[in-house]
Symmetry: C2
Subunit: 151 residues, 2 copies
Amino acid sequence: MKIEEIIKSNSPISIEKRTVLNIMFTQNVIADAFNDILKSFDLSVEQFNVLRILRGQKGKPANMCVIQERMIAKTSNTTRLVDKLLLKDLVIREVCEENRRKMEITITEKGLKLLAELDPKIEAHETLFSTNLSSEELENLNNLLEKYRTI
Amino acid sequence: MKIEEIIKSNSPISIEKRTVLNIMFTQNVIADAFNDILKSFDLSVEQFNVLRILRGQKGKPANMCVIQERMIAKTSNTTRLVDKLLLKDLVIREVCEENRRKMEITITEKGLKLLAELDPKIEAHETLFSTNLSSEELENLNNLLEKYRTI
DNA sequence: CAACTACATTTGTACATACAAATTTTGTAA
DNA sequence: TTACAAAATTTGTATGTACAAATGTAGTTG
């Protein structure tokens, strides 16, 4: 569906504006589908991302800075996201003994299990949209996006 | 900058996952730049979008349904967005006489003036990223996104 | 070591988002 | 005409986001 139909515009839209709208709208479609999956697991997208970052640490704890710099939405409030994960026993939080300003966040067994359960569903979702494009088209799309956002 | 560097991943990422990340991240970059512009005008992105939808009505009022269906993020709370715009005298809200369940929202002169002031800045921003790509590349990007998100 | 500055995180506040429940009005059918 | 269902919007609640200010800790310099 063309972006003009989606926002029900009757006047023509410049290619620059269309590109912005298309990126915004496509992100929305993906995020909505993500949300649908995570909702049944009582996780928000950002909570899920934090868990994935922690799993990527392979046992090593991560402090708040590290989590923050790896998140996609840069200014999510990491403290409160971790608070929520703590309440569900998906992570533990300890003061770092070498530098008491830092916090060490580690994913728990329960957190890992939850991710393991989610993995196939998330992967299926990621694949779902991609099947509309050939591998060359996918590569092309990624290259164009990377080139586009460079300032 | 490649998406792998951005999220500081050391393990390889599938093309499907990379595509999702690239779309999410690019949208974030655009939205942040948008926010920077609107912040100085004390508008949020969604408030701005509502104003633009109202301007598109060319004098005709729009009811809440109409506004909602034209917004990019489908479940923004239109009532509260309009509340905020009312407080700033950028719109007026009246009960529709033919169907008293409906509300008629109209943009004010002040709202139109604000948009007129914003227009060139927003356009410059939309153009900024687009200059990284040729017209064919832009067309290509738009087509790929439209094809990608089709379910 | 006292005073500063920088660092890491938390807290406060205002606003936005998601979704369900409530409210008001309209149309319709017994 | 009362009762009921549907439509349009609002309200409530929990959560998330943006950003500034506050807190607590570490390192540095006079």
